[in-house]
């Protein structure tokens, strides 16, 4: 027990938790904390807008597997991170947000820069807490990290009134953190696993669907092993992309609204194993057409996801990695796994061949741009996306070889996530190439974060698929609203390449595939933040697509006549 100010205790507690980076913007309520940050080994990365800082911390968390920390001031600082907090919560990313607050004596008086951020974030955090006693700061920091990064990971917010950071108290850094009602269940029930193993080994048309839980648990290798053991074709949700390498013979790619091979096979499965996915409406399509004949086995760390959207026969509650490991061992012990028969597995190859698009030689189309990015990047590069048509193009056409190397805002679908998230990813993995696949609408929302990439020497590449449209809405208007464009057109005076230059980044426009290939190669090799603006056809639709409300097999693959 040592006496010190709340602010010093906060910084010390962060260090004790192994925090190496803090993203944020300062303000009146944070002056004591920022002073103490000078005297520690934590790297502070100043942002340009708190939303961007929160996305950076989220990107950092996803790329490092450790909680990402964002620290912002009271009032507007706190409200500005709301989108970042919700994004992390919906994608189960361990984000810890610390918000400054006015002193306790002024809380509740509508003081300058006071907002009830605990109330505001109640429904978008896994847990939030206002510290009212300086002596509780070490506990609160420890508890925030623990809750964010255990069980189903998520966003946590801790509110720090200014007087709590300036007052001194005896600090106990060893205080135990335990919540009587919070027992994150990690180990799956062996009996449930045994039952699941038995059903899986009897399946003749098994399919696996992997969600974000597989990526988050680092269970990609185990999943691939299980798929091979069962000869089970494996699809992924958007968040699960990369769970199985895209070029694996059993990989079915994306399932759902923009799925292809997976959409044809999943409804015909006799046993469907779903791991770490919450059966989002974008993944299942109309529920009636979702694997109607299959016995469904659901593995998830969050019990409340069982039967929430789709009813399963066998429910295994636990960590994806431990559960899959257990399944592999049990199935090996049974030794007579029927597995996908030859015909079933041959279907994968057939489907894949029938959906192969001819390579467009020189046209700058969405799919061609994504494939050029894949060609230019090293295998282990980390890619983020923004939200919209380019995101779906990337989900369909970008090949991922390592789990966790494709990061996207799947749940909230927050446009503007990709650029700041990529900067956070770079901070976590400075050894890797980091590239954000963006669109003009998304990029324009958070482009100011380029200043952080340049000034903090966290170089990223941003490729803007620029169709001068809010493209996904425009696509829906073309397909379902009789082609009436409303609220989607952008007649930019803004030049993205010049914009990048004024931030001190490198900005170029690529109008042919040859130019794009050259610019990508230069950018990836350069260690210099680069924006590549790629004009594409505003009328281009992303296919395949299932119209909203339709079943998995109701796939549109080309423009309606």
């Amino acid at each position: 027990m040592t006496e010190m100010t709340g602010s010093k205790a906060y910084v010390k507690a962060l260090e004790k938790e192994g925090v190496t980076h803090v993203f944020g913007i300062t303000g009146a309520a944070l002056i004591p904390i920022c002073d103490d940050l000078l005297d520690c080994g934590i790297r502070y990365i100043p942002g340009v807008h708190e939303q961007g800082s929160a996305h950076m911390a989220d990107g950092y968390a996803r790329a490092s597997g450790r909680p990402g920390v964002v620290q912002v001031t009271s009032g507007p600082g706190a409200t500005n991170i709301v989108t970042g907090v919700a994004t992390a919560q919906l994608d189960s990313s361990p984000l810890v947000a610390f918000t400054g607050q006015v002193s306790m004596s002024m809380v509740g008086t509508d003081a300058f820069q006071e907002v009830d951020i605990i109330g505001v974030t109640a429904s978008i955090t896994k847990w939030n807490h206002q510290v009212r006693d300086p002596a509780r700061i070490p506990w609160a920091v420890k508890a925030a990290m623990y809750v964010a990064n255990t069980g189903r990971k998520g966003a946590v917010l801790v509110d720090l009134p200014k007087n709590v950071t300036t007052e001194s108290a005896e600090m106990d850094f060893e205080a135990e953190v335990s919540f009587p009602g919070y027992r994150p269940r990690i180990r799956p029930d062996p009996a449930e696993l045994m039952w699941a193993a038995r059903v899986l080994s009897e399946a003749s048309q098994p399919v696996i669907v992997a969600g974000g839980g597989v990526v988050s648990a680092g269970a990609g290798r185990e999943l691939t092993e299980l798929a091979e053991l069962l000869m089970a074709p494996t699809a992924t949700s958007l968040m699960g992309k990369g769970s199985i390498p895209s070029n694996h013979p059993l990989s079915l790619g994306l399932l759902g609204m923009h799925g292809k091979e997976a959409n044809y096979l999943v409804p015909d499965a006799d046993v469907l194993l779903v791991v770490g996915s919450r059966f989002s409406d974008r993944t299942t399509g109309a529920l009636a057409g979702f694997a109607p004949g299959a016995r469904i086995i659901h593995i998830d760390i969050d019990r409340s996801e069982m039967d929430k959207n789709v009813e399963s026969v066998i429910k295994v509650c636990g960590d994806a990695r431990l559960s899959i490991r257990g399944l592999v061992d049990q199935i090996r012990a049974i030794r007579r796994a029927k597995g996908g028969n030859g015909e079933w597995v041959r279907k994968v190859e057939e489907l894949r061949r029938s959906h192969e698009e001819p390579e467009d030689s020189d046209g700058v189309s969405g799919p061609a741009v994504i494939k050029a990015i894949r060609r230019a990047l090293p295998r282990d590069a980390l890619v983020t996306t923004d939200v919209g048509q380019h995101q779906m193009l990337a989900a369909i056409h970008y090949d991922v070889y390592e789990p966790g190397s494709f990061l996207t805002s799947g749940g909230l679908g927050a446009m503007g996530w990709g650029t700041p998230a990529a900067i956070g990813v770079k901070a976590a993995r400075p050894d890797r190439a980091v590239l954000n696949i963006s669109g003009d609408g998304s990029f324009a929302m958070t482009e100011n974060n380029l200043a952080v990439a340049v000034d903090e020497d966290l170089p990223i590449v941003v490729v803007v698929l620029n169709n001068r449209m809010l493209g996904m809405v425009a696509q829906w208007q073309r397909l379902f609203m009789g082609g009436r464009y409303s609220c989607v057109k952008r007649e930019y005076t803004l030049d993205f390449a010049e914009l990048a230059e004024s931030y001190g980044a490198h900005g170029v426009r690529a109008e042919t595939m040859r130019e794009l290939d050259a610019e990508l190669r230069r950018a990836v090799a350069s260690d210099y933040t680069t924006v590549i603006d790629v004009p594409i056809d505003p009328e281009e639709n992303v296919y395949p697509m299932i119209p909203p409300g339709m079943g998995l097999k109701d796939i549109l693959t080309e423009d309606l006549p």
Binding site: S123, W127, R152, F179, D307
Partner: protein, 168 residues
């Protein structure tokens, strides 16, 4: 009308916990019918009983969402057949008319109520019973003239050895 579900909770006695729980009901579109809550003797925990109308399956899903809240220790949708439940009403009746007073006393007695206060023209009575009994009492005294009434709503506990914290 959909049936009344009784949900029993044991939570940490901390500011904001009740808010977070009721916020979950709001989010799923449930309108809380009654809620009773009091801190335990140790002051570390709070026991809450909430009733809500709704389809049993939907309520079960809600209970699962609440169960995963960090500050919630236990939550359970109680089986009505294995549960005893009580509701308490405090009722102030207008009894200036001697006939009304006589009828009031007779009705209160019939429901085994207690007289808590008696004035020349008013009576305050306490009646405890199942939610239906208390509602019937309220209907029976309506004609006498209710000046004011307050009800606690349901508090409930399971029969036998079954408890919220686990079967014993």
């Amino acid at each position: 009308m959909t049936p009344l579900n009784i949900i029993s909770l044991l939570v940490e006695n901390k500011p904001g916990v009740l808010f977070n729980i009721s916020n979950n009901f709001r989010r799923k579109g449930f309108n809380i019918h009654s809620i009773t809550a009091i801190a335990g003797e140790d002051l570390d925990t709070t026991r809450i009983t909430i009733t809500v109308r709704g389809d049993a399956h939907e309520v079960t899903k809600l209970v699962e969402q609440i169960e995963k809240m960090v500050d919630v220790i236990k939550v359970k949708r109680l089986d009505p057949l294995r549960t005893v439940q009580r509701d308490l009403a405090l009722v102030k009746l207008h009894t200036a008319d001697p006939l009304a007073q006589e009828e009031a006393l007779e009705t209160i007695n019939r429901y085994k109520g207690q007289i808590l206060d008696i004035k020349p023209d008013t009576i305050v009575a306490e009646v405890t019973g199942s939610v239906n009994e208390v509602s019937e009492f309220m209907r029976d005294v309506k004609n006498i003239g209710i000046v004011e009434a307050a009800r606690t709503g349901i508090t409930a506990i399971e029969k036998g050895w079954i408890t919220l914290e686990g079967n014993q």
